[in-house]
């Protein structure tokens, strides 16, 4: 409402964030948090056994980790900021204010992590043949592994907060937000999953790198399978814990039965994926531990895929539980605060949206006004023609029957009751009507729907250039100059 609306109609805004974030999480879990301890482990075995092959392998693995994490890994991390602040600036802006110091600490840890990985990787070759320096170098690896875990631990706090604001609603402090009830189950689940993913990804790479040294391969795989298997057991426990705590906690907030079904269907997918996935990965790890050289590489690769799917599904459920809020009970996913609703429902959102192009709805401008309303209230989650398109949704509902504005209006008015992942419609009755006329018009023809990055913003009018509100007197004592 207070920011020009960026919109990508083709892949959709949520998809843009999701692709970036999922890629980031996979790289972070599988190649940083989960893999770095293994590099230190392999380096240690190399030192203990005085065996150059372990050292060489560890360095080769680290090179991949270094290349991927310092390019795609780091930049998808920054990309989450970029995309989230383009798509939902109100939400990310609020989160930054609440979590500034959390993020600041996170940033310091991140700086240390990057410095450590550079030091660890770039001094590997120069310390290789000096026993004392080598030991110090190994310690660097341990630090690095610890820091990459701490980075994740802080981020999990922030994610946990977005799901459930805990006491923050009433206390509004950073610590209250950080130690919300979701924190430990999520951290446990993520840590163990990351360790298993890191183990599996290093197993896969080792398999590729040791094609010509089969005896060595068996020795390494045995160690890695033990490591991965142990974390797998921990993952099973953490998963049960997570599953016990979170659904009960969240389900209590879910109002209407049908949406729990939707949720339950995703959550039970996760449950089965967890049960079968863990069983499969466990079986592979066990086989690989018993007969290290004889498990086919494809099984390892498949295990990794299963783990990635598990992580993806977990993120999806986590996202889903959070809806319709983007910050639990404070702000909806459309960027409007719960507190804004009474005002917007009374006056209409177009009266308050700084960058809206139409203020008054008349009989003649219903379609274009409806488009504005759609942009303000639905476009954070729906495209017109792309992914999760509103056209597709309406088509599913009404098919080839004529789409009728008053039927659509009756639906939108109550949709948050039936489809609890959507926020309530924030505008007034005329806007609801205009929105429905616009939506009905989409059956025949949908003009290209572009955001502010293409259309720009309208010239400021009496609402967007003013600082005052109707009959409410100006509160600020000094009258700021108006441009």
């Amino acid at each position: 409402m207070d920011f020009p609306i960026f919109h990508i109609d083709f892949i959709g805004n949520r998809m843009l964030i999701a692709v970036d974030a999922i890629l980031h999480v996979i790289i972070n879990h599988a190649l940083a948090v989960g893999a770095l301890p293994i590099i230190a482990l392999l380096e240690y075995i190399g030192i203990r056994n005085k065996d150059k092959r372990w050292d060489a392998l560890a360095f080769r693995l680290l090179k991949i980790i270094f290349i991927v994490t310092t390019t795609v890994g780091a930049l998808t991390g920054v990309g989450i900021w970029f995309s989230a602040s383009l798509i939902n600036p109100a939400a990310i802006g609020s989160l930054i204010r609440v979590f500034f110091w959390g993020w600041f600490v996170e940033w310091l840890v991140f700086v240390s992590e990057v410095s450590l990985i550079m030091a660890y990787f770039l001094t590997w070759e120069s310390t290789r043949d000096k026993p004392e320096a080598k030991l110090k170098h190994w310690r660097l690896g341990l630090f690095l592994a610890a820091f990459s875990w701490i980075t994740m631990a802080i981020i999990v706090a922030i994610l946990g907060f977005m799901m459930d604001t805990g006491n923050w609603q009433t206390e509004r402090t950073l610590l209250a937000g950080l130690f919300n009830p979701m924190y430990f189950p999520q951290l446990g689940f993520r840590t163990t999953l990351a360790m298993v993913m890191g183990g599996m990804s290093m197993i896969c790479l080792t398999y590729l790198y040791t094609r010509r040294e089969l005896a060595f391969r068996s020795a390494v795989l045995e160690v890695l399978s033990k490591w991965t298997g142990a974390w797998l057991l921990a993952l099973a426990i953490a998963a049960i814990w997570y599953y016990q705590v979170i659904p009960g906690h969240m389900l209590a907030n879910i109002p209407v039965a049908v949406t729990t079904q939707e949720y339950v269907s995703w959550n039970s997918q996760l449950k089965w994926l967890l049960i079968f996935g863990l069983a499969f990965v466990g079986w592979v790890a066990w086989a690989s531990f018993k007969r290290p050289g004889q498990v086919h590489g494809a099984k390892y690769a498949l295990s990794l895929v299963v783990l990635v799917l598990m992580l993806g599904q977990f993120e999806r459920v986590r996202e889903f539980i959070r809806k319709p809020f983007i910050i639990g009970n404070y702000m909806y996913a459309n960027g409007l605060r719960v507190d804004d609703y009474p005002l917007l429902k009374r006056d209409g959102i177009l009266q308050h949206a700084t960058y809206a192009g139409i203020r008054e709805i008349t009989a003649d401008n219903q379609v274009s006004a409806g488009r504005e309303v759609f942009e303000q209230t639905c476009s954070r989650c729906h495209t017109v023609n792309g992914i999760n398109s509103i056209r597709g949704q309406l088509k599913n509902m009404y098919g080839d029957k004529r789409w009728q504005a008053d039927i659509i209006a009756a639906y939108v008015e109550n949709m948050h009751g039936a489809r609890y992942f959507m926020p309530p419609f924030p505008g007034n009755k005329t806007e609801l009507q205009a929105l429905s006329v616009y939506l009905a018009s989409l059956q025949k023809r949908a003009a290209a729907f572009n955001g502010a990055q293409i259309n720009g913003i309208p010239a400021p009018d009496f609402i967007s250039a003013a600082t005052h509100y109707g009959n409410i007197p100006d509160l600020d004592t000094h009258q700021g100059e108006q441009h």
């Binding site: 310092t70 009374r346 502010a452 700021g480």
Partner: protein, 434 residues
């Protein structure tokens, strides 16, 4: 033209404003130094590699320079996060707006930087694989450098656009924001600083003892290489002053102020001694390249800090009116929100006090989301249900407990077996008598 006045995020700043501003200036300067070194490194590596086609020693040098780029580029990214965070906090209404207005290009920063980094790794880690195809190698280096040179232009466009809310309504996408007066000048000023800082770094770096040991040149004298960089540094300093003037005269007036002008003068002046020392080192035979090196760096560092403060001062000046208008509007809006919330509460209370049956209440809570009085929405309308089940409340209750699947083009209704019989009876009574 008037500026749009949005509202700010209605949450308090996480720390005193002045403190955040200091943090912003410091964090930004650290970031920008690494950015300069990263881009300049890539540029000089390319230059040396091209020279290396004729004089192979330069190829060795190019490889060494890329090792610096690996470190500097990682630092540039991590050091960039802090200023981004702070600018998001302090200037939310402006920075998010300008980012959105050039959104496509702003988002493209992520894949472009990733690509540039990956190219830099290919360029460096696979150096020896390209021995026989130098054209390809140089092509990769050139692409990497071109990307490195282009990306700052996006940032420059954004931070320039955020300063001038009056210009927002004219902007349609990245190109039109790029063409606002002043962006190109700032960019040129930035480029000369890049060359200046990275060539100075290289002068120092090639002057270390260990460098001479590690890199054995066969023909070229190390001293000539260093003079080569030094000459660049000197030329870039002059260019830096020239482009600085250009930026100054083209800056829009609303951010100007005496304090700002004074800071700029001081900044420019503190670089003058460095120019003098560098000139001496280059031209006088009784001077060595390394003479006064620390002083030269100190003089430039002084200039850098003053310019960083001046830059912030200009931003504060340019946005002062806009910020105070935003503050006022935000406060007024919050008051309006409060009034509306109170009204809504009264209305809700009034509604509650109206006599309503248990059936109606339970219907609203459980069924109204999908069943409208007269129109088919998710499920059939109440009217339709009434006609279907007239005189058959137990049939209605049975359905509600265990719904079937009847209408082919609608979803399945969820079961409401968890409601008590009394509730269900009340609901059915309400529907059938409605």
């Amino acid at each position: 033209m008037a500026a749009p006045i949005p509202r700010d995020i209605p949450l308090p700043l996480p720390a005193p404003e002045g403190f955040l501003e200091i943090l912003l200036v410091v964090a930004f300067l650290v970031h920008i130094v690494f950015v300069h070194l990263m881009i300049g490194g890539s540029l000089f590596s390319l230059v040396c590699q091209i020279r290396g086609l004729k004089v192979p020693d330069y190829e060795k040098l190019a490889y060494r320079i890329m090792q610096l780029v690996t470190v500097n580029k990682s630092m540039a990214v991590v050091m960039g996060v802090a200023p981004l965070l702070i600018i998001n906090t302090l200037y939310a209404p402006q920075f998010y707006a300008s980012s959105a207005l050039i959104g496509d290009m702003w988002m493209a920063v992520i894949p472009l930087v990733t690509l540039a980094f990956l190219l830099a790794y290919v360029h460096k880690f696979w150096w020896r694989h390209f021995i026989n195809i130098p054209e390809l190698h140089i092509g990769i280096a050139a692409l990497e450098t071109a990307l490195f040179l282009f990306i700052p232009l996006i940032f420059m466009t954004n931070v320039n656009l955020m300063l001038f809310p009056e210009a927002w309504p004219q902007v349609k996408g990245f190109v039109s924001a790029l063409l606002l007066p002043n962006v190109i000048q700032r960019y040129l000023h930035f480029l000369s600083a890049t060359v200046l800082s990275s060539s100075l770094l290289l002068v120092w770096w090639t002057g270390r003892k260990s460098f001479a040991q590690e890199v054995q040149f066969s023909k070229v004298r190390l001293l000539d290489v260093r003079r080569f960089f030094y000459a660049f540094a000197f030329g870039a300093t002059l260019l830096q002053m020239l482009t600085g003037l250009l930026v100054f005269v083209s800056l829009p007036a609303q951010g100007m102020g005496w304090g700002f002008t004074l800071l700029l003068m001081l900044g420019g002046a503190s670089a003058l001694p460095a120019v003098y020392w560098m000139w001496q080192n280059l031209t006088r035979t009784d001077h060595l390249l390394d003479d006064n090196f620390k002083r030269i760096i100190a003089s430039f560092a002084c200039a850098l800090v003053l310019m960083g403060i001046a830059r912030h001062d200009y931003r504060e000046n340019a946005l002062a009116d806009h910020q105070s208008a935003i503050k006022e509007k935000t406060a007024n809006y919050q008051a309006a929100v409060k009034v509306a919330a109170e009204e809504a509460q009264l209305a809700a209370k009034a509604l509650e006090e109206q006599p309503r049956g248990a059936g109606e209440i339970a219907f609203e809570q459980n069924c109204a989301a999908c069943h409208h009085a007269t129109l088919p929405t998710v499920g059939p309308s109440m009217q339709e249900i009434k006609e279907l089940y007239a005189g058959d409340p137990s049939g209605l209750i049975a359905w509600t407990k265990a719904p079937g699947k009847k209408r082919p083009d609608s979803m399945a209704m969820p079961s409401f077996a968890h409601l008590s019989d009394a509730q269900l009876t009340a609901i059915s009574g309400y529907i059938l008598s409605h």
